[in-house]
Symmetry: C2
Subunit: 156 residues, 2 copies
DNA sequence: CAAAAAAGTTAGGAATGACTTATATTATGC
DNA sequence: GCATAATATAAGTCATTCCTAACTTTTTTG
């Protein structure tokens, strides 16, 4: 399909950096290494290292002291990752009724090991269920009631 | 709640070893290092190393050349991990209608980063949806139809 | 029961990944 | 042009995970 030589595969941590690049660009039109360092709570030199790795794999344009930007491929992948993150967060929070903080945190970890096909299907499930609710609170009421009952009977 | 000193936390790989120990015990009543080596496709010496690490963290009873068994804590944790694995596999395969191989593979990766609370809730969702189906094929028919429609309209 | 085979252990080391601190370099605002 | 803020590089730490090779213990079996 495309030019994947298998050395442009991303580790979880590099995915986080790439995701952060896009997120900061969206937020404020441009990225500086410092923004990423702050956002991910790492040193500036870690950021430099990560950016070099991302550039070597073809996801960003990078040259010392120059402006950072995403390549086409990088934009595609970063958008995918950010998308996964958002879908997962929503699924956990709105559908499983997990408390927002934990939903976010869990999404963060899982976004790295979730194949596209599975994410697509999860998106489908989410809209399938949500679309079939009459009013916006119906799901949360029904489902939390069901969970409570389950817990009661399982602890008996 | 209990005596967690933070050095008994398990990496994804150690969780895999621990899970394998339990799985083999269930399958054939006892574990030999070789079973684990075969199952995880690693060398025998890697298994020794992992078993020592698991013992140091209090999850298994281990002494050179002796029988391997789970501690109470180890059994608890291993059961949890295996449980996560199974729920996730089922959820992917039966609910999201993912092909069994990919369902299994994805579950394998995700089981390590899924908090208990989220798994519990996912279990609830699974039974909530499945219990509300009249016949066993209802879900798969309804949901796959919906997905097909979604894909058609999104590719227009 | 003793040798051979199988299983398990140990030592030592390589590769990787993700960080760090400390020092140098560049860019920019004034 | 110079100070300072931002970046980059060098060099090294630390933890994981795995390997091979050589050794020891256990098991099998003639």
């Amino acid at each position: 399909m495309s030019e994947h030589f298998d050395d442009n595969k991303l580790s979880a941590s590099l995915e986080d950096y790439l995701e952060a690049v896009l997120a900061v660009i969206i937020e404020k039109k441009a990225v500086r290494a410092k923004d990423i360092a702050d956002r991910l709570s790492v040193s500036r030199s870690s950021v430099t290292g990560a950016l070099q790795a991302l550039a070597a794999k073809g996801y960003i344009h990078y040259a010392p002291y120059d402006v950072i930007s995403l390549t086409d491929e990088g934009e595609k992948v970063a958008t995918m990752i950010l998308g996964k993150h958002n879908i997962l967060t929503q699924f956990f929070a709105k559908m499983l009724l997990i408390e927002p903080g934990l939903a976010e945190e869990t999404a963060c970890k899982m976004e790295h090991s979730m194949p596209e096909e599975v994410i697509e299907r999860l998106t489908c499930l989410y809209s399938f269920i949500m679309d079939s609710q009459k009013d916006p609170n119906e799901w949360s009421t029904k489902f939390s009631d069901y969970c409570k009952k389950q817990n009661k009977s399982s602890k008996a």
